[in-house]
Symmetry: D2
């Protein structure tokens, strides 16, 4: 059971609810957002919603059967729309995020940023901290990368999304990022989820390589229950036995998540396939299946990219993708 | 290396090629189709194509690196278009196949057939022989089912596709079916593949639950190399760890197969997801990713269907699917 | 609900049971074995066992919750022991089956057979019909292979197990085989399962690459319910994302199947790993986990084997495996 | 290429090697352990080992083809033996780690600890920080749990292994733990791997649910290359399509890792199966396959455990497991 307090409910009213919960032998889970406080009741609840609804400053009480609560459609029926610098993610808008896998230098990121801006993209991606399977692979430019990203952002006016790999770095990355990305490998790094849950930044949460949809929503729940309700989910392919592709893009996850949750869902066809030629068809598939946006790897010269070259589009291929996406959007009743 | 003989090449010319191959210490694989003979050379070939090209009635000689030969784009660059009673599968056409999972009675199949005809569908699906995990589940009406299917076909003029589960049944099923379906569980039942390879019926070959794309193409190769070159491939979901859906529909398989092979590929969003609400979004996703058609389970009253009820559309949902597919086709440059 | 008739129950008594079942609006499943008749009641049964137990010649009536009935421990609590020419599979015995992947020639199979006999192995394996992913790979010596196998059997006195791939071949293969093998790819080839179910030969049923344990038991149920109760199950590895090994050997399947079913279970560490060096440790692991036997690929010269060379043991490695198995058996309270 | 410096090599000698590497246009990776310094050369090396071997205080130079270097058998041929308070992990010893999933109270952990000590177990496991899929599940007693664990350790003299979930907690946990555990979900949490790599504590690294064996060894490489060479690997089951068991225990991973790496490998049959009845057979299977130890969940009253109850052994079952393990050890030439 979830108890939603009215905006700016007083400390006293909140305490009263907590007391009532404890009197029933149950455990409250307090989630203090910037706007309102939500209290989860953990354990088997034997009272009716009215039991709490009559208390002062309680707005609504919802019974939720699914294991994820704040992330569920039962908790919030209307789609969540996340606003960032005048942009909207969710609703009728298609959010386009694009850029290189890794920030490799100041000129590289700025050149790509200007190209994307011209194509109508409004969110720039680029990794400063790169999680790599091998300790001997390029690990990203780190602080230097953030600096370059900030410069590209300032010059072009694009919003930026970049990965944070460790709770120690959350503050530093938040100073540049408009959206904090949690990578697939960290989807169940709970201390990191709680760290970004405490910020006021939207979080792009990528599905783990072998995470079920329920586990993805439970990880979102970690962020939501820490007080940050601006979570964007991302389908990016799962690990299967198929060998041609790097991952198997689970297109049905998109309409399924939209049915189970109010959170926006975007698709990453670059990691989802690992093969340049498949990025555009899978991006289009994701869109008509209901995705709220795309995150795509683009590089001026993919052959020389320091990571993920084989799944990265060059400027020409990306221009063509954008065109095809635009014409699809028109018949889906959506706009970029 | 693949040696393609001219149409109606003489037995003598074919023998000459076989002799040359054996002289090199290699093994020929003879594939006698209704129209032409194709000879595969098995083993490491150390001669140039010219070695065979100069022989009488040899049309062309192709070196093929991939393990599948006749199914590959290297062997045949242009898309294969399969003609059935004035219909075309492949090319610019989108083939729609629909109908109940199982034929349950004469009236049931006829009523669905008339409904589909009215909606513009031209191929009726319906199982007379049903492969079921349990020996105690409904196994289909068998001969009786074929009879009802034939009657529905005769009355409506629809073409029909139906599954054949055993080489003993191939002849019987071929008398009714316009397209022979090989189910996912039989994708590597090689004696069945060879049996349908000897017929003159198009074959709808479904991907096995845990078959790689390469294995699917190798199974098609069994049919092609037996002499039947009218094979339609079908992506119908693979088995993964995800539990919400019955299978994970591998949308990237579609553009990937189109790249590797000249054979048409259709999508089965019903088995691909196992959930009624996901059928339409996944059908649309498959189309924009390049599928040449769809096979969808439709029933007048899915709740009472003897099998697969939870993934079957009712008439209303199917009508809506058709509408959405039509509007997508227009922007994809394809037509139903 | 399962109704077991007394041995040699009359046709009249069986009919009476069938009538009673139909009167309840339920469907009987008749399984006539060589010794006794078993009748499954399909559908939701609302009567108590006594309802049927009072009928003439009914031996017992069992309620079974699991989807597999005749294969379940609920149906038969004591371990099934299968007798073949004085050998026993199941119980305290460890059955050793070994031999080449494919029969390649008369001398090859005889030489291996004599070697194995000397090592104490009593069941010879060897494929005459080989299911291969590619139609261009060696497909086995077929009839010729069976002939050589028969000769090896006659000379050495070993029992033989060999694969049957198609219902048309069941009779032919049965003339030579003491045990009919159903390969992993055919685990859900139901017409083949029913064909071997009609023979009086023990059946070695291999788990499919993508089959759950429940599905394996359901496939066994197809054979059992057709009247053949001598089924040996085989764990041979499943398909996962791991790339070093050919398959992932599911060792926990062994104690799990022993818990769910009364049928004997053997292990195939050759296909289960695909790597020669892993065969012995995995064979030992399977044994201590409760396996009733092993089936292992052995060849005089694995490097030159026509198939599966990389997972095949040579004579020296096999001799060592046997030694290690013997010393393990002693502490497991089992004997070869 | 890996360059191993002599113990206590001077800063000057190390610098000289670094300079030589950079002169070749390559990148050095410096790993300063407590005893010796190891320098990896990243990139394609075109010089012979002698090029570096002649430099002062260089002990040896090894060319390594596998992507993991310090973890490989090529780098170090003899088995690594890890010493903790007079205990040895690796070599001929079987390390037994056991205890509750979570520390639930002071009496609970002490009672279990005394029981285990009596049974001959020398390493106590118990989670103070618990990674849970749901933010509403019991998350462990945290600092309080560490306190109780320390008390149990002090009283019984057992060594303790406990999980650390976040780099912030490494110092705190290290004050109590003799072995730091990295859980499956954090196997690719690289900042955590580097944090434990900087301590002088042995690290128990669990294989991720979705991690290949190569990825597990690459994660070990993160720890080794940060300067901590005391890593124990743990097979604990991977995620597959099988539904009866929680995970599929990959028994072949054990001999495979032993072949590829010098690091000790232990098995976790509790998480590996998720089912109490399967723990003992799988534990035995792991041992005969070559495991260097076991980590098993034990609780006085599993039914009332706050987590993982269904896979936890009670005292009686654990006593029986120990007995069976002891008798197996004798014939494997190993001792507890």
């Amino acid at each position: 059971m979830i108890i939603v307090m009215k905006p700016k409910a007083s400390v006293k009213s909140v305490s009263q609810v907590l007391t009532k919960i404890r009197e029933l032998g149950l455990k409250p889970n307090l989630s203090k957002g910037r706007e309102r406080t939500v209290i989860g009741v953990i354990g088997r609840v034997n009272v009716e919603p009215e039991y709490f609804e009559v208390l002062p400053e309680v707005e609504k009480v919802v019974r939720i059967l699914s294991p994820f609560k704040l992330a569920s459609r039962e908790f919030k029926n209307e789609d969540t729309i996340i606003k960032i610098n005048g942009l909207e993610i969710g609703g009728t808008k298609i959010a386009l995020m694009a850029g290189p896998c890794a920030i490799e230098g100041k000129e590289q990121i700025k050149e790509i940023a200007w190209f994307l801006k011209e194509k109508g993209v409004r969110i720039l991606r680029g990794g400063a901290y790169k999680p790599r399977t091998s300790p001997y692979s390029f690990q990203g430019l780190k602080e230097k990368g953030l600096e370059y990203l900030e410069e590209a952002k300032r010059e072009t006016g694009l919003a930026v999304v970049t990965e944070v790999m460790s709770s120690e770095d959350v503050e530093k990355v938040s100073q540049v990022a408009d959206i904090l990305q949690i990578g697939a490998r960290n989807m169940q790094n709970y201390s990191l989820l709680q760290a970004v849950g405490k910020t006021d930044k939207p979080v792009l949460l990528k599905r783990g390589l072998m995470a079920t949809i329920e586990e993805l929503l439970m990880s979102a729940e970690y962020i939501l229950s820490t007080g940050n309700n601006r979570v964007i989910l991302c389908e990016r392919g799962i690990r299967t036995f198929e060998k041609y592709t790097r991952n198997t893009f689970d297109v049905s996850a998109i309409p399924l998540i939209k049915k189970l949750s109010h959170l926006p869902v975007i698709a990453d066809p670059s990691h989802g396939t690992g093969i340049r030629d498949l990025v555009t068809p899978v991006a289009k598939a994701a869109l008509v299946a209901g995705a709220d946006g795309l995150i795509v790897e683009v590089h001026k010269d993919p052959q020389s990219a320091l990571s993920d070259g084989s799944q990265t589009l060059d400027f020409k291929m990306f221009s063509k993708l954008i065109e095809e996406i635009r014409s699809l959007c028109s018949i889906c009743g959506r706009e970029i």
